[in-house]
Symmetry: C2
Subunit: 268 residues, 2 copies
């Protein structure tokens, strides 16, 4: 079931990294395909990490990808160019106030966006407005509170907690995955279906150890080192130990994380 | 794929409860079937909750079910009688010192047992001894640290923590699911494969809300109320609030728990 996926650079090493990325891509996206001719909105596309996946998996769909950051869209356009894909239009727009008429899109897709918002309800309401009756909304989010590992130390727990607390301090919610169902059901979407997408890593799955544990999760946690230490959430020594403890699971322990994927319909 | 499953009582209500039980049964056991004529050991069968499932799903296998508690075996025999199943022999035995010669069984099955043991390695070594080379060991365990919910309160977290701490105080490990891989790989089993079996519950899954959240998980936590309060782990008011908070997720929030199933082979 593996399919070729062209990122535009093809040395052996990048091929290996692509294999790893595909593992997570399959887990999250294998069941998202839009019909040829359908109009799809990707809200909050950032630098296009998900856009290339959408464009590749639904080559006949007309995808409109919006983000509020013009710089990100420049990067996204570069990414898409390498894919030689003509089915994506990029547009600068605020997801809470979209420049589209009501009922414009057959489908709306939003991935790793709601976690950053103070009021995700506002964006969801706007996405619902531009979605046509009977159209589908797909939401993918993580939940950092779903993480655990073995061995699990106090320091390892603390560094992950820093990431959650920093997100909360910024008005976001790193635990949003677990509340996708009540969030969507509470906003008059129909037929809300949420399914966990579980990452389980042990030494029998080296591609996941490198591709997810080290290069996705630990890299993401490591990215807030400065903010966590300078913000007084943790001291530098504990931080270092926590990251080392997370890394120490690779090759001998286990690593656990759950994403959530929701699909809901706008009532007809 | 639903199959009829006769527990021996058949009012409407028990039928509903059986449906719920089957949901979890399918999740944990759907891929365990033993060939006709094969010799299977169930180690630590208790009152036979899993034995009836094994006997039903592998009607041609010869199952030997052992437990150290004679009283439990009496209950297990009663359960099996209702199934009208002739393929199970019960025997009182200590899993750390089994009355069987080396290499006797084609397969060994152990479910919800290792979590209670101070030295699960000792029992695994004994199970390995009575397993024939090339034979399979199947282990199913939970991991209470995998639990989370929405809404999640401090009191809800604390009552679950009490269960984990009581298990630890008794020498067990309620977080054993996450370490099945290193445990088995470290004991010279081959081809160790561990897969998470994830329970995700939201209001679109009412059978899981009743069958798992309320009647399995919250019931299990509630069972240690006396021990937790009398043992000074928590005060009675916080305990009550924690249980109420867990119950409050039903009908509006979400509930998350992960079991782990491992299959490994004895080297030939």
């Amino acid at each position: 079931m593996k399919r070729s996926y062209v990122h535009g650079y093809n040395t052996d090493e990048s091929g290996r990294l692509e294999d790893q990325a595909r593992t997570l891509e399959d887990l999250l996206h294998h069941d998202t395909r839009y019909a040829a001719g359908s109009r799809v909105l990707e809200a909050g596309c950032g630098t296009g990490a998900q856009t290339v996946i959408l464009a590749h998996r639904s080559p006949g769909a007309h995808i409109t990808a919006v983000d509020i950051a013009a710089d990100s869209l420049t990067a996204a356009r570069q990414r898409l160019k390498a894919l030689n894909s003509a089915n994506v239009d990029f547009q600068v727009a605020d997801c809470a106030c979209l420049p589209f008429e009501d009922d414009r899109f057959d489908h709306v897709f939003v991935c790793f966006v709601l976690e950053h918002l103070v009021r995700p309800e506002n964006v969801l309401q706007e996405l619902r407005r531009v979605l046509k009756p009977g159209g589908s909304l797909t939401v993918i989010e993580g939940d950092h509170g779903s993480f655990y590992c073995y061995p699990q130390t106090r320091a390892a727990r603390r560094v992950v907690r820093c990431l959650i607390d920093l997100q909360a301090a910024g008005g976001g919610d790193a635990l949003i995955g677990r509340r996708l169902y009540p969030l969507l059901a509470g906003m008059r979407f129909d037929d809300v279906r949420v399914a966990p997408r579980v990452v389980y890593v042990d030494p029998s799955r080296p591609a996941w150890e490198e591709g997810f544990s080290r290069n996705t999760f630990i890299a993401m946690v490591s990215g807030v080192a400065r903010a966590a230490i300078d913000g007084g959430l943790i001291d530098a020594a504990t931080w270092r130990r926590g990251i080392e403890d997370l890394e120490a699971t690779i090759g001998k322990g286990t690593f656990h994380y759950t994403f959530f994927k929701a699909v809901a319909l706008k009532p007809t």
